[in-house]
Amino acid sequence: MKKALSLILALAMVLALAACGSKSGETETTPAPDNTPAVEADSLTFKLGGTGPLTGGAAIYGTAVKNAAELAVEEINAMSGVHFELNFQDDAHDAEKAVNAYNTLKDWGMQISLGSVTSKPAEATSAENYADRIFALTPSASSVATTAGKDNVFQMCFTDPNQGSASAQYIADKGLATKVAVIWKNDDVYSKGIYDTFMAAAPGLGLEIVSDTTFADGSDTDFSVQVADAQSKGAELVFLPMYYTPASLIFAQAKATGYAPTWFGVDGMDGILTLEGFDTALAEGVILLTPFNADSDDARTQAFVEKYQEKYGEIPNQFAADAYDCVYAYKQALEAAGCTADMSNEELNDAMIAQFTSMTFDGLTGAGMTWGTDGAVSKSPKGMIIQNGAYVGLD
């Protein structure tokens, strides 16, 4: 009986293989609207693919990117010029599944790619992008390894280390402080990457690091030692390269000891105001460096936030804004290079590399963005200050 069953199962497998072989996953596509002339739609509609976590613990990031990219594609398809067909696949924040999703997109005929949303999967898929010569512009995979050694993988977000030097630069330029304390998490890649470059840049900019204390997973509830150290050494500004949960505790404990320096955070601080059970009065006066501010007065940002909120019922975060920018950057690059959809992936890839390393792009997350040949973006981060429980632009 086992043999017969095995035979049937084996047969089923062969059939499944054969069936998969001829099928291409055509899901979640946003086709060009019907009212555009057919000829134009055919020759200028590009197949844009991307992977990100739509399920699992990191789903909030993938969903934000997918939603914003859909929104941008809808807007662009309603205009004349290039059009996009978007196919966004779930990778559950797993490198193996991301490569599977990438291969599915390849079968679908992806011509240009949004890479992957999160860093580790992006590292895996960008190696495939590089091998297959399919250009990738990732909205949010911030690790250096994503772009290292790959000439056709570009980032829309800052790399983790860049934030450190940009923060030091910003503090020095605005004359916020000269005596600086740093509290950082020494078992976290994000925190360490920012800390390293901040420390490298600070001495040259006239910043004196008076206190340098750490914490780790498991010891992230009591910060009295770190706060007392910063206070006793007379630090005017405390730099916090970390996510917002430990930062919220630091604010509370500093307030209890009557210490009120200038607090300075990076993009991980974005979201502290919506943290459940957090008294926003504690974050009053906190400065953070982030490329996107949903409360900005900028007309394009306001239009984007309004549309996003109407369509998906929530305020877009930085990931969404980066994804929105990616699609528009593609539109600008493709139009400037005069690309047509019948070009091969290699031709498109070369044209995009030439465009991205030479063009300047204005988006929601920064004006006058340029890219280096290493794929890293250069844009000026926006300083935000928290006033009356809301983010307000400093500049």
Partner: protein, 348 residues
Amino acid sequence: MKTMKLSKTSRKNFLTYALVILAFVILQALAAAGTLSSMLRGLLVPICAYVVMAVSLNLTVGVLGELSLGHAGFMSVGAFMGVTTAISLQNAIPSAELRLVCALLVGAVFAGIVGFLVGIPVLRLNGDYLAIVTLAFGEIIKSIFNNLYLGLDSHGFHLSLLDNKLHMEDGGRLIIGGPMGIGGIQKIANFATGFALIMVCLIIIFNLVGSRAGRAIMAIRDNRIAAESVGIPITKYKMMAFVTSAAMAGAAGALFALNFSTIVANKFDFNTSILVLVFVVLGGLGNMLGSIVAAAALTILPEALRQFADYRMLVYAIVLILVMLIRNNPTIRSFLERFRLSRKGGAA
């Protein structure tokens, strides 16, 4: 009718070999003809790795009769050690194929050693207790790799735990980076080697099961007290099966890791152990061919279901439940039984 002289098990074993070879030849031919989709081509090596995982776990669960929930831990050891070997030998051995074989061997040896060490305390337990302890060991191995830093420079290897204190000279390469795992791996795994690994594992398992040692192992499974009473050294045979199974999982891990450009310890968590256990249970305890088919089918299934978009994992779960139900349905079982009997009657 010469084949009738062979025992039932031998015929079954040769059928398994034949089907695996046939599947390999068909897939290679399809790949060569270019008719295989990118999705499937990308899945070939992971399928090989999962098949080896499934047959090796089947040795512990089906043949030895002990439930192990930490099989992904051995895969993890093999993956990290195998990739470290491949990276270290990058300059010494120019041939990618040879490096791959070295990586698989080193992965298997290290996983076997870890299997032995884990086996000393674990195999004193039975049943549910053993299952829970293997689960804990799987988590410990994951934790260790999440906190391990390993670098290589001209002075040799540098190792540190918890924190990156390697003090390497310039030009040194950080191989394992704690929670970042290993990045920038050269993808040297290929389908042919994966197929060869499956064949080697099948030969080892079939010969072990058919040998005197294999009969002792199965005697322990069927009745431990009776086996002990006739003088079978329980721990020795349990250890033999357990270490063999761990070493194969190590080779599978090395093959798997060398197919991706990056690998993290969290990939080999409890979920992966359970996934492999699902392959084994679905394929049938002790049934190697069943494990192979189940591993291949269940690796392809979630990818083939991408057209269901948001409902993909729901459909996957439903399919899994249905297959399990059908597989254990008495009516279908008896139907298959009749089918087999009638065919046998016809042949005779």
